[in-house]
Amino acid sequence: MEQPNQSYIDSLSGDDKAFKQKLIDIIKREFPEEKQIYFDNYNAKNYKLAADNVHKLKHKISILGLEKGYEVAVAYELSLEDGKSDEKEQFEAILTTITKYLVDL
């Protein structure tokens, strides 16, 4: 399974450790909130809203260098907009991977 990395965050931060930590803190704060909103909307069958949530989570997935995960998220967002959920399991596995990664970050 593809694992998150900090390549993009490092390239953006350069030697600015304070910025890097601040960015990580914001991701650690925003990601669980966005994830929860996604689950709430999906479980309530609000697929259009869930698609919007996936769209936002997509950015976090790409920031953490998950290139394949990003492709899954793109496909899942489109599926949700059509009321389908073909990539649900794959997408939620990515969320789990990120959740674990952020705990140790």
């Binding site: 953006l12 925003e30 936002k56």
Partner: protein
Amino acid sequence: MNCIVIDDEATARMIISQLCSNVPSLNVLEDFPNAMQAIKYLNQNEVDLIFLDIHMPDFTGFDFIETLKNPPKIVLTTSDPNFAIQAFEYDCIVDYLVKPVTQERFQKAIDKAEAIQDAPVKTVSESEKVETSSGNDLYVNIDRRLIKIDIPSIYLVEAKGDYIQVKTEDKNYTVHSTLKKIEEKLPDSLFLKVHRSYIINIKKIIDIEDNSVLIKKDVIPVSRSNRPELMKRLNLL
């Protein structure tokens, strides 16, 4: 260039601000989590450049652009490359950045923005949104679609903050515009502003009592200053 950042995602705002901080010619004045806050800010402040997220809840980046009469240069930031074609419809948009944005790609966007002379830019202004009316039709911009409304079917227009609600025989429409703009587009022979928040179709009045009129099921206040004009327009026995 003085700039602002509009994005509903805090992470994205922070990244764009960081990218800006590495470019000496850029000065980030503010960042906003939604377009409405930015509109209020722009009513009182001038900026040279806006970094604008497209995909925001309630009010998209494109909705935001259409509220600006003289938009500054805009760089779109998005996770969705599919909006690129729509971006070309706006002369004010100088570049289109797909997230996550790298410093190199960001710099290219800034170079483009700086290369553009201060030529006046053109976009669909707020007034033009309702100026597209012809004859008995009024076209309003809702969710990036131009919806045709049959003017005589309108019985009431109500101001609601930054929006107006247009009520017709069949349907109600919420449009990002002002009462003043739509008043200019509605024929005087049919419509009258009876209160700072209401324009009514005088043909649809059911009755008038003291300082209010009944239209359909809506009781609409009539301000003291507008009452004489209303009475003048009625065919009083």
